[in-house]
Amino acid sequence: MQAGRQSNVQAIKFSALLLLCLLTPLLLVSLAPAPAPIYTLWDWANVMGYMVLTLSLLLFVYRGRARSFPAFSGRFFANLHRDLGYIAMLLLTGHVAVLLWVEPLLLEHLKPSAPLHMLAGLFALLFMLMLVISSVPFLRRRLWPDYHRFRSVHALFAAVILGLTIYHVVMSGFYMNSEWKLAVLAVVGCCVAASAIRRERTVLLSGIIRIRNSAGYSHMITYCVTLLVLAASFFALLLQQAE
């Protein structure tokens, strides 16, 4: 009974943290100088793009190994990394698919003559496809029987994706349209890099023990929070358009 309550409390706290992580960048880029709204689906597709950037950064923080928060079992963190990766892939596909659907001329931005920041986005998509597909356990064991080799290549691909994604977002300039927004991104990027370099803090606070059999919380938290952010941003954009 006590364990169940503790699980729920940890799940709620972590959901709130994830929600905050996903919403904050969206709120920041909408601040002054506010980007001019286009139409709902276009802006919503770019919401997906920003969520991919946030998730790409979060994936460097939650790298599959147990951390001090939340106090779930080690398996939860492995699931969390995988779920966040799949969601990032889905959102990136959605970002491209929705934009091409509302604006078919954007196909021009997938050609070799496209502006460099769009090519960076395209490369990031291709690298993420390779990263996600090669990380499916069935394929991973065949491609890299040695786990350490897999981890090295995975880290290399992930850094390529993050670098290309940041270049794509910054140079597009639609939402990253002021120096203070760029400064915030730089600070967050440095914090994530520092977190990725140092060893994870796995020690729990005194009096807290890891909750066993809590791996399943990952799916529920990540997918629910993502859907919530997508739905909330869509309705917010609809309201903005109505004004």
Binding site: A36, Y39, P112, F123, L156, A158
Partner: protein, 116 residues
């Protein structure tokens, strides 16, 4: 033999990303000048409030003659930036106009200008 730390692989990844962009830019600079441009619909009547020289800068700064494309499409030094330059140029003006609460031209919707 101990495995290399993960951060070294991440650093290598960032270097790969930079090299990839440099290679793409080289290829792009070679291909863009020969690439046909999308047709653009530009109505002078819709831009009556704008000073001519805001766009036709060569009238006053003596940097060239003829149509925009004479330089922006066919000069090898500036041709690769034609898309970004024209997009930024139109976009900045339209954003400013919209922020002032006035009707502006297309902001980012491609088909607003490129009527194919």
């Amino acid at each position: 033999m101990s495995a290399r730390p993960v951060w070294l692989w991440m650093l290598a990844g960032l270097i790969v990303a930079v090299l990839l962009l440099v290679a793409a830019e080289q290829y792009r600079m070679a291909t863009v000048p020969s690439k046909p441009l999308l047709p653009v619909s530009f109505e002078h009547l819709d831009h009556k409030k704008t000073q001519c020289a805001d766009c036709h800068h060569n009238f006053i700064d003596d940097t060239g003659g003829g149509t925009c494309y004479n330089c922006h499409k066919y000069e090898p030094e500036i041709a690769p930036d034609i898309e970004k330059m024209f997009h930024d140029f139109c976009f900045d003006c339209h954003v400013t106009t919209r922020r002032e609460g006035e009707d502006s031209g297309p902001m980012r919707e491609c088909a607003g200008c490129h009527k194919t």
